[in-house]
Amino acid sequence: METLSFIFRKLVEDRVALIGALIILLLILTAIFAPILSTHPEDVLEFHPSERLQGPGFAHFFGTDRMGSDIYSRILYGARITITIAVIAIAASVLIGVPIGLLAGYYHSWLSDALMRVSDIFLAVPQVVLAIAIAQTLGPSIENVILALSVTYWPFWARLVYAETRSVQNEVFIEASVALGASPARVMILHILPNILSSIIVRTTIGMGGTILTAAVLGFLGLGAPAPSPEWGRMISESREFLPEAWWYATAPGIAIFLVVMGFNLLGDGLRDILDPRIRRSSRHDK
């Protein structure tokens, strides 16, 4: 609790990180209260061809799309998709990556090397490319995007936790608890994990931004949630044939993606400075 209030105090001091946190808060509120905040909640599924491609105005804050749906309302609902995809995919990556990294870091055996080699191979392909390959094979749906992102992103946490575990392993307090006969599980969960938690939190925050961008790329390529889902990447993709006349069509969802990713990056940077100034220096070595 002390740490939490410390982080909170520092966040309030660091204005940039605070902006990030506020943007994320806004995103979450938007997703929760989308039905209340939106002006045309029915437009997620309904079409109004007579009102198609209207510019921004009082009736439609961000204009309407090719189906005559209100872009503002669709973006609000899109926040739900974005959050769902990012949170589940990242949670899965953390749940896969952290235990693998802990085990491989704690035990020094051929299996640790093998596990790290496998994660290296995953890291050896650009994430977007791997995610495209997986999502393409599985077919377009939100579930498959989540699956593709989880499979693509877990090695980041495995690598990080592995390196951090190896480095705290030689600390006196870890050696002491091993010498006192604590079981490996106990050492890993009660002693190592709390000590590397801050790195994991920072990595996770920054990872959210990256994941959202990749998810948007999948949506843009038509590999995300199928139409008429109000997925932000898909909306931008749809807008292309109506440029340059319907400039608002692409603008609004792009800004939405930008703000959200920016929010996570700013918060991640801020958290990194607060929690672990060491990471910045060591990050150049942990390729």
């Binding site: 495209i132 340059p244 792009g254």
Partner: protein, 343 residues
């Protein structure tokens, strides 16, 4: 004469051999993963390719022709052997060899990527140095906003915005494509070089004008990364004891900054080139799609639309190998420029 003050330790050779040793299993692993991914398909690709009107016999024949009737491990083995020989099979859509498709498109992507790396380094390194030197100045703040945005902006959206502004509204640049007309005779496949070889300045400028928007789109996040790491590296170096020493000994400021500090800072930046290439290859997929740039990324997007699994596999393996080679090169270069690395 005094000797030149360098010597290349044997340890560097060990480093290179070590990286080369891991290159083979990494590439094999990449092929296996790609294969596994493309064979967890719920749908039957053959039935899809053969079309709705195909008879059961026709589907079966196509399946045999593509080798998809064999057990999984045999298919995997065949695939590995074939890929190692540069054979990615045939496109399920066009039935042309994928390796031909890929190799004819590779230069377009490489040209775009190289120019983007060049541009981002050309501007990113000096900007990073200046923003570190002028810390907390107006310029530093502006650059910080740009670098943070660079990593947060979706490249396909940026590409569309650039098109909207520079091509559609202002008409300063072509909207899409690589060249007007047929382009220069293919010698290297790099149109900039080919047009120079032809002695055709008109084509050269045309190719260049087509490159502006895609390069700007691609270079933006890469530039952000370079500025960010150069700035951090310069700041770290400039607060170091050796810079304090060099200042105390009255070495000229410009030599301290642009020789001593920059060399140290760039070591950190160079290690990020792997990361930057990752950004660029990933960016190329969508950027090429938006700009109709006839490279690997465009091909990949076409293959996605056509559900051409083989082609996607080929693209994944090739871009993975490019990425691995880049990282390997970066490691070796890093070993050369950072003497501490060759312990």
């Amino acid at each position: 004469m005094p000797p030149g003050f360098t010597d290349t330790p044997v340890k560097l050779l060990v480093l290179i051999l070590n990286r080369l040793f891991w290159f083979v299993p990494t590439v094999l692993g990449l092929i296996v993963i790609t294969f596994v991914i493309s064979h967890i398909i719920p749908a039957d690709p053959v039935a899809f390719v053969a079309g709705d009107n195909a008879t059961a016999e026709q589907i079966e024949a196509l399946r045999r022709q593509l080798g998809l009737d064999q057990p999984m491990h045999i298919q995997l083995w065949r695939y590995i052997v074939a890929v190692l020989q540069g054979d990615f099979g045939v496109s399920l859509y066009t039935l042309r060899p994928i390796s031909e498709d890929l190799s004819s498109r590779l230069p377009a992507t490489l040209e775009l990527t190289f120019v983007a790396v060049f541009v981002s380094a050309l501007f990113g390194i000096p900007l990073g140095v200046i923003s570190a030197l002028e810390r907390n100045s107006m310029l530093d703040h502006v650059l910080r906003i740009i670098t943070v945005s660079g990593l947060a902006i979706a490249s396909f959206w940026l590409a569309i915005l650039f098109q909207l502004l520079f091509a559609m509204e202002l008409g300063w640049t072509p909207l899409q494509g690589r060249v007007a007309g047929w382009g220069p005779d293919v010698v290297t496949g790099f149109f900039l070089i080919d047009s120079i070889l032809m002695g055709d300045p008109e084509t050269f400028w045309d190719v260049l004008s087509h490159m502006i928007l895609p390069v700007m789109t691609l270079a933006f996040p890469a530039l952000a990364t370079i500025v960010r790491f150069t700035r951090a590296g310069v700041l770290e170096a400039i607060n170091s004891n050796y810079v304090m020493y060099e200042e105390a000994m009255g070495m000229p400021r410009r030599v301290i900054v642009w020789k001593y500090v920059l060399r140290n800072a760039l070591i950190g930046t160079v290690t990020q080139i792997g990361l930057i290439f990752g950004i660029l290859i990933a960016g190329a997929v969508v950027v090429e799609a938006v700009f109709d740039w006839p490279g690997l990324g465009y091909y990949a997007v076409q293959s996605i639309l056509q559900s051409d699994y083989n082609a996607i596999m080929g693209f994944t393996v090739v871009s993975g190998v490019i990425f691995i080679v880049v990282n390997l090169t970066v490691d070796v270069v890093h070993g050369f420029i950072d003497p501490r690395e060759s312990r």
